[in-house]
Subunit: 322 residues, 2 copies
């Protein structure tokens, strides 16, 4: 009796990605040890075809984005990657070529981020492809950066640039025209998990998280975890050149930048006195950081100020699936 | 600005399930320590509406089955449960009642199996609901039961009864009529992870796994891992009373029993000399075990003998998604 296609698929595409502890993806579970003196950090994020990525995105970047949005959760905790498990529920009739490209992307990013696959599951669905990844990392005891802990007076910082992902999605959908260099589309398809920065600021910042569902909404989470509020200045939010050109041409796109999601930058709070230490950590991680506002007493409220210091009305803070 | 529905859903249904290390499901990742001197065991299994469960199955049993098929992977390794992460990609328009029932089932089994949720993700899909769970457990160093290690002459054993799940699915679909007590449907919807048995035989058996995709196919995996073959007697395969009645009425159902999947029983090999120790472990775990055949030199081949000692032709060994 020959093996069914499911096992051939796993052997062909996913087994080459397996690392130590994975038992060749041939057992019921992986068995591994944590590095001595480290705590386990673990998170899971799903991506659905047509919801989190476009059906005609290259399969290489879909695999890499799946890994990177999960690595971004480790970055937000100041953790170091260890490995991952993945369940791929593939739309019936997904071509073998697509799976090969998907796995090729994963292999590339496994090398870039120094981790391997530990296990998972593969199935088929009559619906759109549904991918789920569980990421494992480690931190030293007491070193994890969490969302709670921001205090009134803390500065609010973000890494990199905000809004590229949301504008990149608009560009890929043809809703905005100016993405000549493809920078915005690349940022939508290939977010950059800020692992080195997360590890660098973990002992310095008072609270941190990654921006995945929109800057304003995610800042709201940081505020709720602390029991305080925040005021940020829209003009301070760092934009890429491509994003700035679009926003200058259409001021309404500011909302997409502030609430659109898919940034995967770090958002963190820190006492003003540690600003130099933060800048040093950012330089060490070769990742730009920008101060965009401050934590205030007003509980749970996120206020966005325009250039005149007036509060900007935003009908929603970010992305919701429901 | 109020929180979007996604976060309300998580807070209402899933936060009450969160345990130590989960940071209230309010952070980017969970942070936890393994019990001192234990290794991490980790696996992931997905379930798709209409593929792994029936759309009109009660949501309570869907949640419990999702947890149990994953716990069965821990059982197969001889591991003790620690916690889990779950991504729920819900079909658009899934009623809140359904999610409440799903979470209620999880809560019940969390108590039964002594574990809690550590994290996850929630999203919506235009397709069928797609659930993915990553299970964490621990074993003592050197104690994990793996698939490799069976030797010619070893006895082959299974726990419980085989075929109930496959026949239960047929009964729920109306393809067979005799499930008066609902035993087979219950076994399809609520498999029993054999955790105590797995822990009990881990130091005794030479190799083990759980039967999820069909007895013959899964025995093939055990054989391939060892580089040997197996001969089993169909008449020795343990059946429940309900399954026996169906098979006696229609001999063709034997194929469904041997290859149908959804058993979640343990399948293991052990030297004949440890049979008494196995029986003692089984008694301690209050789980019946039955010897069904032996490992043979013939590489990779699984032979099923009928009552006359003739090899039964089987067109497939088990379930494949592709």
């Amino acid at each position: 009796m020959s093996l069914p296609a499911e096992f051939a698929l796993i052997a062909r595409h996913f087994r080459p990605l397996a690392g130590e502890g994975a038992l060749g993806l041939a057992d019921d579970a992986a068995v591994l040890d944590l590095p001595v003196g480290r705590r386990l950090v673990i998170a899971a994020d799903a991506m659905v075809e047509g919801v989190h990525y476009l059906p005609d995105d290259p399969p290489e970047t879909i695999g890499r984005k799946l890994l990177r949005v999960n690595l971004s959760d480790l970055a937000a905790m100041g953790a170091t990657p260890l490995g991952y498990l993945m369940t791929t529920v593939l739309s019936r009739g997904t071509p073998d070529d697509w799976i090969a490209g998907f796995a090729r992307g994963l292999a590339e990013d496994q090398r870039a981020f120094n981790l391997t696959v530990l296990g998972g599951d593969t199935a088929a669905t009559p619906g759109p492809t549904c991918l789920s990844l569980t990421i494992l990392g480690t931190v030293a005891p007491g070193a994890a950066l969490t969302r709670a802990g921001a205090r009134p007076g803390d500065d609010i910082w973000v890494s990199g640039t905000i809004g590229d992902g949301a504008l990149g999605l608009k560009a890929l959908r043809g809703e905005v025209s100016d993405d000549e260099t493809g920078h915005l589309a690349r940022r939508y398809r290939l977010p950059e998990p800020r692992l080195a920065l997360g590890q660098g600021i973990a002992g310095i910042a008072s609270a941190g998280m990654d921006v995945s569902d929109g800057l304003v909404q995610d800042l709201g989470h940081l505020c709720r975890a602390a029991g305080y509020g925040a005021v940020i200045e829209a003009a301070s939010v760092p934009l890429s050149g491509a994003a700035r050109r679009l926003v200058m041409g259409d001021a309404a796109l500011t909302t997409a930048v502030l609430t659109g999601g898919d940034d995967y930058e770090l958002l963190f709070a820190a006492a003003p006195g540690v600003a130099d230490a933060l800048r040093e950590a950012a330089a060490g991680a070769a990742t730009p950081i920008t101060r965009i506002g401050r934590i205030v007493e007003a509980p749970h409220e996120v206020q966005v100020l325009d250039r005149d210091g007036a509060s900007m009305p935003l009908t929603r803070g970010g992305w919701s699936h429901f």
